[in-house]
């Protein structure tokens, strides 16, 4: 426990408005400092490796067929119930693969719990991508199917 420190008060400071000038000095110094903002969308932020964008699906060349085994664990883990998986028998092999896989991006809250639940470790079939521009014109467009989940979103280039 400690008492807070208060600034000293002095007659000189009171009459010469010293603290007001100190404030002006701080802003003047910043006038010549480089800016810290980004000109989005011309400049895009540098994302950290663990950045959690929208969840997407991926494959791995080592795996036969799709990496996803349609186990439905992600759908169960999802707090927003935004994942719907329909399974079918895996073509030319044991187990299952997704017949359809839908994620409703409108409801997704980017928590990453689906990735935690995914059993195809260490490369998970569902992963948090670096896509973050998700605006759409219609609500239906947020419903993303297998193709959309694999291809993802290609960001537009802006020149100015």
């Amino acid at each position: 426990m400690s008492k807070i420190v208060r600034p000293e008060d002095s007659v000189l400071r009171r009459f010469l408005l010293l603290e007001l000038f100190a404030g002006l000095w701080v802003t003047l110094k910043h006038q010549f400092r480089p800016h810290v903002t980004q000109e989005y969308p011309r400049e895009r932020p540098e994302l950290r490796p663990r950045f959690r964008g929208v969840p997407r699906l991926r494959d791995h060349p080592g795996a036969e067929g799709p990496l996803c085994v349609a186990c439905n664990q992600c759908a169960l883990a999802c707090p927003d119930h935004c994942i719907t998986v329909v399974a079918e028998d895996r073509k030319g092999g044991k187990g299952k693969q997704p017949k359809s896989f839908h994620i409703d991006y409108e409801r997704c809250c980017h928590c990453g719990l689906c990735v935690d639940a995914c059993p195809t470790k260490p490369i998970t079939a569902i992963y948090m991508s670096h896509d973050y521009e998700m605006a759409q014109y219609a609500r239906d467009d947020f419903m993303t199917d297998l193709r959309g989940l694999y291809e993802g979103h290609v960001p537009r280039e802006y020149k100015r």
Binding site: L20, G23, L24, V26, T27, L28, H30, Q31, F32, R33, P34, H35, V36, T37, E39, R160
Partner: protein, 362 residues
């Protein structure tokens, strides 16, 4: 006949047109300057999309405001509501009639053209009178909006503008005593013949006067840290909450024109108007007061514009700088500051100035 026409119609109309056009242009770029300076002080970049480094941003904003639907809310007092923007902008523009922008002169035919619209011998009184008219616009806007936030804003600004007229006037009184004339041209000429600006007048430099004038000017123009009538964090937008489109643009314009006016007056009253910055070195005066000697009077006028503009710019920069730095006073504190600090200080200042004049005369 034609000379009379030239002297009393053509030249004044041309001067007025030039002043108004220049003012509008200056205001457009003052807004941009404000945004840029604030942005740089806040380690941002400011507008950059329209034009090179955002140079056309304000132009785009103005076009937007002009083409916007002009909304008049149903519950307002229509006539007063429509009049308020006009009432606020007219005095702001009219005040520039007596500002001497530069010295020198050139001739058009037989008529000499000076860099001021008119040189009234009661110029200062005229200014004090006409700038205090602006408050009516604010009160009318606040009242006629028939809405609670604008009313609070209107009342605040009425009180504020009325109380800060007094210290403003008091700091002008000492200048009046020093110059011995109320003509603004006369004031600059007095500084020219004295060889030094009133700011550095001996034996009593008018630094306190400048401080009083500038702070009261900031309070008069409702800028931070005294922008209570439109304190957006308390009163949303103050007295112009209900205005939109062109009418809003008028309030905006008037505010910035008033800022320029305060800048011009500080330059004229304390910084010697169009006189060059010589740092007290006598040899510099001649070459610095005319960069273009081969053009004669017109060259002197252009040079005067430069010095005058530089001084005004510095004052305006201080305005924007303060805006980026300080928090805002509270309404009652502002009043207390005005009545209990600035008015006594102003009275004291006038007395000390009078004493100093006596001492000087011996």
């Amino acid at each position: 006949m034609s000379e009379t026409l030239l002297r009393f119609v053509v030249v004044p109309v041309a001067q007025i047109a030039v002043v108004i056009a220049a003012l509008l242009l200056i205001v457009v770029y003052l807004v941009l300057l404000e945004r840029k300076i604030n942005a740089f002080m806040q380690v941002r970049l400011g507008p950059r999309r329209v034009g090179w480094h955002g140079l056309l941003q304000t132009v785009a904003d103005v076009i937007k405001l002009f083409t916007k639907e002009d909304i008049t809310p149903r519950h307002v007092d229509r006539l007063v509501f429509l009049l308020a923007p006009v009432v606020i902008i007219l005095p702001a523009l009219a005040a520039f009639a007596v500002i001497p922008f530069s010295g020198g002169s050139f001739r058009v035919g037989s008529v000499g053209v000076r860099a001021w619209i008119s040189d009234v011998n009661v110029g200062l009184l005229y200014l004090l009178a006409i700038t205090s008219l602006g408050v009516f616009g604010v009160v009318m806007a606040g009242w006629s909006s028939n809405s609670k936030y604008p009313m609070l804003g209107g009342l605040r600004s009425a009180a504020q503008m009325v109380s800060y007229e007094v210290p403003l006037g008091l700091s002008v009184v000492s200048i009046l005593m020093l110059a011995g004339t109320a003509s603004l041209v006369g004031i600059v000429q007095a500084q020219e013949s004295a060889g030094r600006w009133f700011l550095f007048w001996t034996p009593y430099p008018q630094i306190l006067g400048l401080f009083l004038y500038f702070v009261s000017g900031v309070a008069e123009t409702n800028r931070l840290p005294f922008d209570l009538p439109e304190a957006e964090n308390e009163l949303v937008a103050g007295f112009h909450t209900e205005y939109s489109g062109m009418k809003f643009a008028f309030f905006f314009l008037a505010e910035y024109i008033n800022m320029v006016l305060v800048g011009c007056l500080v330059a004229v009253l304390f910084f010697g108007g169009w006189l060059p910055v010589t740092f007290g070195i006598p040899g510099l005066r001649e070459p610095l007061s005319n960069f273009f000697p081969f053009w004669g009077g017109a060259g002197a006028m252009l040079t005067g514009f430069f010095w005058f503009g530089l001084k005004v710019f510095l004052v305006l920069f201080l305005y924007l700088w303060m805006r980026a730095t300080y928090p805002r006073y509270r309404y009652d504190q502002l009043m207390r500051l005005g009545w209990k600090v600035f008015i006594p200080l102003g009275l004291g200042h006038v007395m000390v100035t009078a004493l100093a004049i006596l001492v000087r005369r011996g």
